[in-house]
Symmetry: C2
Subunit: 357 residues, 2 copies
């Protein structure tokens, strides 16, 4: 990443929700995810450079608030994200998020951005990148079980990045499937609405599970998963929340983002602590194999990691340059003399009086 | 703290640097610090309720970027703060900061604020609160060694909260002292510019050390500190940075904010790890004594802790209600249907087209 350029030290570019929507519509939703996917691949190849602090969680009876920091030595980033499963019944989002990038050389923030939408994009981009390395060759059909907020982004990312042509949709709530069918009607994908999970996975090369708000659910049972498939397991992403029957895990080669975190939050919390898994960065950097044979079942046990948010913010930082899709926030005090903070406040008083005269 | 009231779910009140200056000038700098001091006392009395996570630091050759989170079970807060000693030579601040409060019940942020100025105010407010419990009775004279960005705030907080009338100023750079003399000329304090540290402490009841950018400096030597004084040691605040000669520490009763952090960052990093110190919250809540005798030397080994930032943000959250000193940031995505994030993006596209027609 090139060194940050700053015209004015005190202003931090801010991408609001409105500007994020405008930006990704300007670029195109699929193209944005392709750009984020590229940034993720660049960062996963240089994985060992990153400062991989575990997320800092503050738990309460209602949910969790987390800070997810990371740094590559030149750029620092963190995401604030909450998870409150019961919010939906009050018309609020289960998850909201925002993030920040800063220049490691001087500690000054260089980007503040909404990340509720951006996290949805990076999660789908990450899934598609993993599938590029793990899915069966010429995969054309994906089943998506769970048709909530993440569903459409998954479908479009896999179309753009992995060449998926057919998407089969299933949700226990038929209205969620209707919503996804409607939203994807002009996407160029062949869509099939399914009435059971078993129906949904019929003929699929890739199975994506992205259900929410279930404790130790079993979205996929062992008999639903034939040989040669790739499973993209999104929904099992916190302690006590999993989607796959344990037997499927034992039949699969399992791939993770950052294993210490996945053991706590992912599907593999069902397995012994020393069960062998492969980290995706090892596959992307050529250190280990991805898919080894046509008959193998591959499983991406997705939980989301700070480096992916870093990649997404880095992409957005580049994407807004020269556009009107951000505003400048007066977030950093910048006195003429750094030792004279009090004088700056006093001079502000004088300016206010002059302005009032 | 009363439950947060939100008219619009997606908007987060933001206090910019400009608005922070206007707000504290509107309230008054001293009155603002008195308000923050009151919030600190309220929070220190209920200290045991707080989730006291250690700060999360990302170190580099040039400096450090830290996240300082805490929560009282109802409200969550964190501060982003950097420390880059070499920034000053490039005309940048050594320290910049911003902070956030969120509602623990739903995880939604309720306040984003600049904290470069606010941290200066809370640091001085914290010092004055500590002195209220520790300084000799009827203390009227304070020596301030180090006349940088923190100096004036310390002088004014001690005037307002502890009744200090005389301030003696000394800095190795006479220009810093001139700046402070100029800034405080109409403060009502009797000011004396001193040419040596020894001269500065003559006749003082309280000695404040707030120098910067020195490794293991000795601002105060043992012979400079007579019996019965209170020492307010601000500048020793990171590993390898201290201001007081070790012998002074052995003659003093030492008071800390959060001892595990002070042992790493404060003056007491010079002492054995099990050296007995008293936490200020214990004094404020009546569990332990503050000053025990007239002849005792008391020492507040200040490093700054997350709970103080929480108190300061909590004060600002209340202070901006009903004022124009904040703006609303469109920071949180708020779709009509929480499961329909993609649909929200698509509808934004249609609105944009309609607007363009």
């Amino acid at each position: 990443m090139a060194k940050f350029h700053r015209d004015t030290l005190n202003l931090v570019p801010f991408v609001s929700v409105d500007n994020m929507m405008k930006l990704i519509l300007h670029i195109g939703v699929e193209e944005t995810m392709a750009g984020i996917a590229e940034a993720i691949e660049e960062d996963f190849v240089r994985w060992e450079l990153f400062d991989k602090t575990p997320r800092v969680a503050s738990h309460s009876a209602e949910g969790v608030i987390e800070l997810m920091p990371t740094s590559d030595g030149e750029v620092y980033g963190f995401k604030y994200v909450n998870g409150h499963p019961k919010n939906t019944k009050d018309g609020m989002q289960t998850v909201t998020a925002f993030g920040l990038l800063a220049d490691v050389a001087n500690g000054y923030p260089v980007l503040l951005s909404e990340m509720t939408i951006l996290t949805a994009l990076r999660t789908a981009a990450m899934s598609a990148v993993a599938a590029k390395y793990l899915a069966p060759k010429n995969a054309k059909t994906m089943a998506i079980i769970g048709n909530g907020a993440q569903c459409e982004f998954q479908a479009l990312a896999f179309r753009k990045i992995c060449g998926i042509e057919n998407v089969r949709l299933y949700d226990t709530d038929p209205k969620a499937t209707e919503k996804a069918m409607f939203n994807l009607q002009n996407s160029g994908l062949n869509l099939t609405s399914c009435s059971t999970g078993e129906d949904c996975v019929a003929g699929a090369d890739i199975i994506t599970t992205c259900t929410a708000d279930k404790q130790y659910a079993t979205i996929l049972t062992d008999n639903m998963v034939g040989s040669g498939l790739h499973i993209n397991a999104i929904g099992g992403d916190c302690p006590g929340k999993t989607e796959l029957h344990k037997d499927i895990l034992y039949r699969s080669e399992i791939f993770t983002e950052f294993t210490p975190q996945t053991r706590i939050e992912g599907e593999i919390q069902q397995l012994p602590e020393d069960y062998e898994v492969t980290e995706l960065w090892e596959v992307m950097s050529g250190k280990k194999d991805g898919r080894k044979s046509d008959g193998q079942i591959t499983l991406f046990d997705s939980v989301g990691f700070a480096v992916e948010d870093f990649s997404a913010l880095r992409y957005i930082y580049q994407a807004i340059q020269g556009t009107q899709f951000y505003e400048d926030l007066d977030m950093l005090a910048d006195p003429d003399d750094p030792r004279d903070l009090y004088g700056m406040v006093q001079r502000a008083a004088k300016q206010n009086m002059t302005a009032a005269e």
